[in-house]
Subunit: 198 residues, 2 copies
Amino acid sequence: MKILVIGGTGTVGSAIVKELSVRHDVVVAGLTSGDIQVDITDMDSIKAMYQQIDNLDSIVIASGSVHFGALTEMSAELYQKGLQSKLMGQVNVVLEGIKHLNDRGSFTLTSGILNREPINLGSSAAMVNGALDGFVKHAAIELPRGLRINIVSPTVITEALAGYAPFFRGFKSVSAADAALAYSKSVEALHTGQVYIV
Amino acid sequence: MKILVIGGTGTVGSAIVKELSVRHDVVVAGLTSGDIQVDITDMDSIKAMYQQIDNLDSIVIASGSVHFGALTEMSAELYQKGLQSKLMGQVNVVLEGIKHLNDRGSFTLTSGILNREPINLGSSAAMVNGALDGFVKHAAIELPRGLRINIVSPTVITEALAGYAPFFRGFKSVSAADAALAYSKSVEALHTGQVYIV
């Protein structure tokens, strides 16, 4: 298969590339690194990315950010950052990708644990992850041409604990390599509409 | 208790008002009707609403809209309608309401079944409902002064079947009066962080 991994140079993304590239032709997209540059918050940049690659069987997204801050200090503008980046960035990759994926191809998105188990300062992440899980469960029933869509919802990543451990006391972390297995399952099994909790 | 019901003239809203007004002092807010006018998509309008009412023990929101359309015809702009109205409209009522609710007061928001059981054309509703459920589960852990927050996630409302039945074949509807009980539970029990599925 030919697989595009957006965010393929990040902590989880590079583990996904390592897992998939053993068996598949993987193209890595990143904001400033990788084979192709893309800014998923910009629809023109997403369209330009798709112009640089054809014959795609699978699109994996491990990219997008949200603002972390105290609920009482959040604002519509600060929530908008997550809605534009992690939520609509991934959704726009799907909307435009529908026109480019091969029949029976798959999308694999990324949410995270925080809409299931909140942490301090994480209200935007909880909002965006819930939105993504809901969108994916829905999109699976409407996608044309046998296209599939799933989402991986990981707990805190072991390799990221150096920066985030104080916010995730009591959470069992998952290694990037183990999280990457769920992306492989989405790409290589025939599932659709699944939220993989890892 | 003194309770503000935003959207209190709608199908569900008027049932909520009927359920709560037997025991409480209920103030109804609506876009063009009710005791106070408010447009929840406009933060200035939300602030003006709070200036017209004080000593609030509870805020209930049964308001907000999303665009229904085929996934392959959706766009960032069409998703933005639901993100601005049903999602951020309710979230902005909470953010501003934190400054106005009495200690141990409660917020009760409204999502819906579509992030759990999708229907054709409902991708924006699935996204927004998931975002709201995630936000509420999170906000409960950060709200100050003993403030509480819950959300009611109803299936299709019996009184709305005249317009929506073709989209909800096989779904068991709930009457507005029965859905209103969940709002009463949120207001009058001491729960927080709950998603009430009715």
